[in-house]
């Protein structure tokens, strides 16, 4: 019994091991499945399958404010303009999910470059980059995002970029610290003795050790972006002209007094389920990828 258990670990890379740990955590796998379903929904929202886009955007003033679960035709009801809420919330998934992904993908390269340069080279490079980071930290992130979006326009690209420009600092700080430690290690010295260039040492030798920081930070950032999108929508600064969770919640603020809850309940429930899944999955991923817990197959937390 003991032997078979050990065989599982033999010859596996740390990454494979963490996947293994993740697979043994039923809560994490359930959360992962939910996330995948949402991702599929976001991709589905791009196409006009089942007339999805039409139902989400075409006005039908005869069917205004149909309550949820009252007809099969509109399972989650309709809004002020008679648009189908279910279709809108599915299409809205696209904005939130792609925004989170795009913001993360813009953020990671900036953070990697800044963090690795300042941690690896130190000295005046470090001073300059630390100065930039402390200036950005000094300004509440929402303010930069707000001003940028207000000044440059409410397009998807600019909003994602604004999130990235404020979001990279957290990851870069973590990476700077790890690079400062890593450059003193023997394996880096060994690589340098073999004649490896700085670029090779940074990207081939040190950076792969930090994958788990990057992945975990990506997920945290994702949660943050999705929640901030609602705030931007409230300020009137979210993506213009398409349904998004934030826009739907924002629209519902005028409808509640009349008892029209459809918009808010649908968008909130979708967002809630996705964020809970993402939070659980992120926590599990952090535990699974933590190199300190090498041979633990699963971690009993709480």
């Amino acid at each position: 019994m003991k032997n078979t258990k050990r065989d599982i670990f033999v010859g596996k890379s740390p990454f494979q091991l963490s996947i293994l740990r993740l697979k043994r955590n039923p809560r994490a796998m359930a959360a992962f499945i939910v996330v995948v379903i949402f991702a599929l929904m976001a991709i589905l929202g791009n196409f006009n399958i089942f007339g999805l886009q039409d139902a989400a955007s075409s006005f039908n003033l005869d069917d205004r404010y149909i309550k949820a679960f009252s007809t099969w035709h509109h399972p989650l009801g309709t809004d002020n303009f008679g648009r189908d809420i279910l279709a809108r919330v599915v299409v809205g998934t696209r904005v939130s999910l792609f925004l989170g992904a795009a913001a993360g993908l813009f953020m990671i390269p900036i953070a990697i470059v800044m963090g690795s340069l300042s941690g690896y080279y130190g000295k005046y490079v470090d001073d300059i980059i630390m100065y930039v980071m402390s200036v950005i930290i000094a300004i509440p992130g929402l303010l930069i995002i707000m001003s940028l979006v207000q000044v440059l326009g409410r397009t998807f690209f600019i909003i994602a970029l604004a999130f990235a420009l404020t979001g990279w600092v957290g990851l870069a700080r973590v990476m700077r610290g790890s690079f400062m430690q890593a450059r003193e290690y023997e394996y880096v010295l060994a690589a340098r003795c073999l004649g490896a260039s700085d670029r090779r040492i940074i990207f081939k030798h040190i950076l792969p050790n930090m994958t788990h920081f990057i992945i975990v930070r990506f997920i945290l950032n994702y949660v943050g972006v999705i929640k901030s999108e609602v705030l931007l929508a409230f300020l009137g600064l979210s993506v213009i002209g398409v349904p998004s969770w934030g826009n739907m919640i924002d629209e519902s603020k005028l409808e509640l007094t009349a008892g029209n809850w459809q918009n808010m309940i649908a968008a909130t429930m979708f967002m809630f389920i996705f964020l809970v899944a993402l939070n659980i999955f992120g926590d599990a991923l952090r535990d699974a990828m933590d190199p300190k817990l090498k041979n633990v197959t699963y971690k009993v937390d709480d």
């Binding site: 200036v135 303010l143 930069i144 440059l152 609602v230 300020l235 600064l237």
Partner: protein
């Protein structure tokens, strides 16, 4: 100590210059100004002359270096020019709006931190009990619901349907408390989840330290260890975290002031976005930033006072 404070104050100078540069880049360089003026003007008067007139009025036709120095001057002297939509000096507007914001955020922040600290200590003390588990579940739920939704639900049910609180409004003086009760309650509900989670982890980390084992070996009681050893030593990470939460006060004040018609800075800011009032938007953004920067400075000095381990060099 005096030396340390002076040095910290000197550190502030490049930070302020950098902050001014960021906003300068956003507002004056990236090309937002054209579009901004364009959007600000009503459709009829969008002529080239009008835009030139406003550009001259805001000093956007001067060399960039002069504009930048002007921005720095504005931040240091607190003189932000005149509001475009209200025809009043911006500084006066801000002065008028600060008390309401302070009355909303400062007590809310204080309640929230103390409540979550108490809850976290209880959860850490009885680790694994039903209380601990309930708090964990509630905090995950709290983290996954948008603040906007909670505010709308709270106002809808507690104020409008059940009539427990006034729906919205504001008076000067102490009478304002009755309008602030619900915003405070909502703020605490929204943020307590995050904080309990973090404080609990910090306290648990601290409880595995050597000095805790030593204290236990000496025969110090559990409760005594929790209060006198763990809580006091956890104060440094907790303080750091609390300072990091201050930017989120901005979100709170933006949303709550809007929904409960509290005439604060957040309300002013949202209005300035809606009416394309560039001087006011710039000013509110800078005031928030200055507030945050000075708060960070104060905590840094507090660290040095509280914790002898902080090096003063």
């Amino acid at each position: 100590m005096v030396n340390y404070i002076i040095r910290r104050l000197l550190h502030l100078v490049p930070i302020i210059l950098g902050v001014a540069l960021v906003f300068f880049l956003i507002f004056n360089v990236i090309g937002g100004q054209e579009k901004y003026l364009y959007n600000m003007l009503p459709q009829k008067s969008r002529s080239a002359e009008q835009i030139d007139y406003y550009r001259h009025k805001y000093g956007l036709d001067r060399p960039l270096v002069v504009q930048y120095l002007d921005m720095v001057k504005q931040m240091v002297t607190f003189d932000f020019g005149k509001s475009e939509s209200r025809k009043l000096p911006v500084t006066m507007l801000i002065k008028r709006h600060v008390p309401a914001s302070a009355a909303l955020t400062v007590p809310a922040f204080f309640f929230e931190i103390s409540i979550s600290l108490i809850l976290a200590s209880l959860a850490a003390y009885w680790r694994g009990s039903w209380l601990d588990k309930t708090l964990t579940v509630l905090s995950v739920i709290g983290m996954s619901i948008s603040m906007l939704v909670l505010i709308m639900l709270g106002q809808q049910f507690l104020a409008y349907r059940m009539g427990l609180f006034p729906i919205s409004g504001w008076t000067r003086g102490i009478g304002a408390v009755k309008y602030l009760l619900l915003p405070w309650l909502l703020w605490v509900t929204v943020t307590v989840g995050y904080d309990v989670r973090f404080f609990r982890t910090t306290l648990l980390e601290e409880s595995h330290r050597d000095y805790v084992r030593t204290a236990r070996a000496k025969g110090v009681g559990n409760r005594n260890i929790m209060v006198n050893h763990i809580l006091l030593n956890a104060m440094i990470p907790i303080l750091t975290y609390v300072v990091m939460q201050i930017p989120f006060l901005l979100t709170g004040s933006l949303l709550l002031e809007r929904f409960f018609s509290i005439p604060g800075i957040g309300d002013l800011m949202v209005n300035s976005i809606a009416s394309y009032d560039l001087p006011v938007l710039k000013a509110t953004v800078m005031v928030y930033t200055l507030f945050f920067v000075s708060f960070t400075l104060i905590t840094d000095i507090l660290y040095a006072l509280v914790d002898p381990r902080v090096r003063l060099s």
